[in-house]
Amino acid sequence: MSALPSLLRLLEVGPGLRTGFLRLLSLEPVQRPGSTTMTAATADFARATDVDKGAAFLERLPVVLRDWIASFFPESLRWVVGALLAIAVILAVFGSLFALLTLAERKVLGRVQNRPGPNRTGPFGLFQPIADAIKMLTKEDVVPREADQVLHFLAPVALLGFSILTFAVIPYGRRLVPLELDAAVLYFFAAGAGTELAVFMAGWASHNKYSLLAAMRALAQLISYELPLLLSFVPVVMLAGTLSTSRIVAAQAGWTWGFLPHWHVFTPWGFAGFVIFMVAAVAESNRSPFDLPEAESELIAGHLTEYSGFKYALFFMAEYFGMIALSGMAITLFLGGWQAPLPFLEFVPSYVWFALKLLALLLGFIWLRATLPRLRMDQLTRLAWKFLVPLALVNLGTAAFWQLTAHWDGPLSAARWVVAAVLVVGPFLVLGRGLTAGIATRTYRYA
């Protein structure tokens, strides 16, 4: 019997390195571990208490509020309270953003199509999300008799769970990272990978051939676009030299000549990376023009065919959450995170800048949906494999060139810009020609 304890002792490799949410289970006292992995709570407390005494009041407000609430609890429980507060705030803020976004989408789409959009529920149709929620909650939940009951129930839950997990590592403002991880970017995309599993579960468990076929099609799309999505942010990680989201944001601080921010999007490789990332993000979140998985007007809603009531709504909640999270990641990686665009605008709190950028990107998603027609499946996969993946690979080389010529200045600096720009635009033109070869430039004749 002495073998078991010694074996278990062997498995306790690094007691100081266990991460925060696992500590939640064992409820050990918190001690600051070495350097890399620290719990969200300890890290935040260390910084919130002694740093930034001089920062503006509004800038500090979220942290001050959190500490004030946590101060009602004994010392040993404060990190739990801090973590729970972060979770509650994320759920509340993004839950209501989801509700407002559904309304904004319908309003904006309506305006684009020259009609008023929902305007009967409350002033300007503002209560429409509430009416929708009541409708979804009171609808009958129909489950096919032959369906795999457990998996059919588990699919929307897993999808929503995975998409909420991704919110944990996005820096929403100065010192406003719910979970400070050394490999945060990797965590984000690892959590996102679980959504594919949920889509498969939904399609298979429905016991419907259309659902299963649509799930396979959706998976083909998700896997195809995962590649350009992952490749497009590799240059950012390469040049920032870190996988931590807060340090990537910190790497984009400062201005050239006092007005040009050091955001990655304002470099040739960063611009290309941002565009590739956003195209792949649109496809990953099943948004138009890549909304083939759920093409409600043609394919009877794909893998959602056998879902109704609130489970159906959960799928859309997950879709919007995925869209918000990917936009947040794009802001973090390319658009300078919570940094202000101009030096004299720094008095505005950092989280307001993040929110403004987020809303701008989300409106961009809606605008795209209103503008572009849906792609066909073969066009979709061709775009991913023959265009976006090679472009992203070339972009790696461009980023390497940019990094290696960082010390060039004066006239050489102009040469650096020109060479990098050619490296971005050249492959784009060549690959684009290849993509449209045979159908060439379309000429439109007016009837």
Partner: protein
């Protein structure tokens, strides 16, 4: 005793054990994926953050899809997904082979002299990991990359058919 480790071990081993017992192949595959996720949780518990996320990204994200596609594409119909019970002799053989491997592993682990005092945590950051991979172990990394590329090319060769494609209609 550490409660977190117990829970992780229970989920990891339990889901693997149930996966072997189930008749439905898809359920087995999904439980296997749950087991992989629990392994990632174990890495996280042990402080290997990067490894844990890589495990989730590769196994839960990618390998799981390969497994599920393989199961679905190699079966004739839905009824084919349910396996017939294994004869007693085979089960006994599997049990004996499994316990023999487990016995050898246990013996090796318990027989190895390990420092009794807890070693200081390595505290590897992603940066150090990257420098190690690109510096000391660059050759191994390159070899792995070449092997994966060869495997990919082989898959393409196997999957492609020689017949010339028909003229594409509208793209």
């Amino acid at each position: 005793m550490n409660l977190a480790l117990l829970i992780i071990a229970f989920v990891m081993l339990g889901s693997a054990a149930i996966a072997m017992g189930l008749r439905n192949l898809i359920h087995s595959a999904l439980l296997l994926i749950a087991s992989w996720a629990a392994i990632a949780a174990f890495f996280l518990w042990a402080g290997a953050e990067f490894l844990a996320f890589a495990q989730v990204l590769v196994y839960v994200g990618a390998v799981s899809m390969v497994v599920l596609f393989a199961v679905l594409l190699t079966r004739q119909s839905r009824l084919d997904l349910n396996l017939a019970p294994v004869p007693f002799g085979r089960a006994l053989g599997a049990l004996i082979a499994g316990s023999a491997v487990a016995g050898i592993l246990f013996g090796a682990i318990l027989g190895t002299p390990l420092p009794a005092a807890a070693a200081p945590p390595p505290g590897l950051t992603v940066r150090q990991l990257g420098l190690q991979l690109m510096g000391t172990h660059a050759a191994a990394l390159l070899v792995v990359g070449v092997i994966l590329t060869v495997a990919l090319l082989g898959a393409i060769v196997l999957a492609s058919n020689e017949a010339a494609p028909k003229t594409p209609e509208a793209r």
